[in-house]
């Protein structure tokens, strides 16, 4: 039987509406770092939004990377477990070891327009069945007679990132 092996991507958007402590720290620190690093690309103080910097200043796309330094420390505290996404038992089950940080929008004069995201790329999972709105998955490792599974629902900002079919 063919195994469908998938990886998931969860895009966690963090903005001024953040309520959780972790999210708030990421919001505050990434905004402060953005304001610091953006000065490198804005030495004449001509621009105020991230979009303007991207459009007018060569190299400004490096700000994604430069600002990420302020928040990678928070990722470590997650212990490679994707936040927010839970299985149908209400537990976090998704593991990641790849991520991408991005600045979605920001504004040097208006903090409330600052918006960033972490994209978490999950470890490979075997996709066994689809039951109603739920996907039945298990870790991708050598199968014994009994496999432990997780049942979870696709939801906004969670998507299947890659698909591999194994014989």
């Amino acid at each position: 039987m063919e195994n469908r092996v998938i990886t998931l991507c969860y895009r966690k958007v963090i903005d001024a509406n953040a309520t959780k402590a972790w999210d708030k720290l990421v919001f505050e620190d990434s905004y402060r770092e953005f304001k610091m690093q953006a000065q490198l690309y804005n030495q004449d103080n001509k621009y105020r939004s991230f979009a303007e910097l991207l459009q007018h200043v060569p190299g400004a796309e490096q700000l994604h990377f430069l600002v990420s330094a302020a928040v990678t420390g928070y990722l470590q505290t997650l212990n490679e477990v994707v936040p927010d996404i839970i299985n149908n038992l209400g537990k976090h089950f998704l593991r990641f070891n790849k991520y991408q940080f991005e600045i979605i929008n920001s504004d040097l004069q208006n903090k409330s327009r600052h918006q960033v995201a972490f994209n978490f790329y999950s470890e490979p999972l075997v996709w066994h069945e689809t039951i109603g709105n739920y996907l039945l998955v298990s870790e991708n490792k050598a199968a014994s007679s009994e496999m432990l599974t997780d049942l979870f629902q696709l939801q906004p900002y969670l998507s299947i990132y890659s698909l591999t079919t194994e014989a």
């Binding site: 030495q43 004449d44 105020r48 979009a51 302020a70 470590q76 997650l78 537990k91 991408q100 918006q115």
Partner: protein, 245 residues
């Protein structure tokens, strides 16, 4: 940019931008902004949104997040990059105070590795959770009472079109940019540049300071650091950079 004009632009910027901003910027979303895929206004708290009909998390609370400094904040910026050891002592002086050492200034430095490459996002932009190496050869320190910061790194390599250099961005304690500049290296017989000899690349095609588009106007050599040491024991770089704070 030339130092004088840059400083001037900072001053002009500081006073004139608020007016400009009000004049040119409204709160409307500009067309450019629309092009960065955003405005996800519908779900403000993804994963826990009530619109997705999933069970609520039922787990032991935690972890309890505490403030984590940026991963740049460190003295040793080597991150496993190989090369001749280099210690960089950078003193920040305040031109508004007879160039006395400026305490509590934030100093960022970054430079390329032995092969001439910087840490940056690659094609896909995806990073692994091996966070340690992501921001190699980039660091941030806050100056002590004498205005000094010290970094441990490797002697930088070079790449086409530029003399060997270290980028420096100096901020005041609250993060306001005071100066963006670069440090140059002495050249010629007996210098570190000659001893390192461009690592594996050699120095064929190397851009010397006099031909470098950043350093060529620095005829007085104020951007050139003092560099001592050798390839066995490593190098020690010292320079004083004065800013108006």
């Amino acid at each position: 940019m030339e130092r004088k004009s840059f400083l001037k632009s900072l001053l002009v910027g500081a006073f004139s931008t608020p007016v400009l901003i009000t004049a040119c910027n409204t709160e409307e979303v500009s067309p450019a902004e629309g092009s960065t895929d955003s405005d996800s206004g519908t779900v403000s708290n993804p994963g826990t949104s009530s619109s997705s009909c999933t069970v609520a998390p039922t787990e032991t609370e935690g972890p309890f997040p505490t403030k984590v400094p940026a991963s740049y904040v460190r003295s040793d910026i080597t991150d496993g990059r190989t090369g001749y050891k280099m210690t960089a002592n950078i003193t920040i002086g305040n031109t508004n105070n007879n160039c006395a050492g400026l305490a509590d200034a934030i100093v960022d430095i970054w430079h390329c590795d032995a092969a001439g490459n910087y840490s940056e996002y690659g094609g896909s932009g995806m990073q692994s959770t091996n966070y340690q190496s992501v921001h190699f050869l980039r660091g941030r320190q806050t100056t002590d009472a004498n205005g000094l910061v010290t970094f441990t790194s490797i002697f930088p390599g070079w790449y086409s079109g530029r003399a060997t250099h270290i980028h420096v961005h100096i901020y005041n304690a609250s993060g306001k940019s005071l100066k963006v500049t670069q440090i140059a290296f002495p050249e010629g017989d007996g210098t570190a540049i000659a001893a390192v000899n461009g690592y594996e690349k050699g120095l064929s095609g190397y851009t010397y300071n006099s031909r470098d588009n950043v350093f060529s106007d620095d005829t007085a050599g104020v951007q050139i650091a003092q560099v001592t040491g050798d390839t066995t024991n490593g190098f020690e770089l010292s320079i004083k950079l004065n800013v108006a704070a």
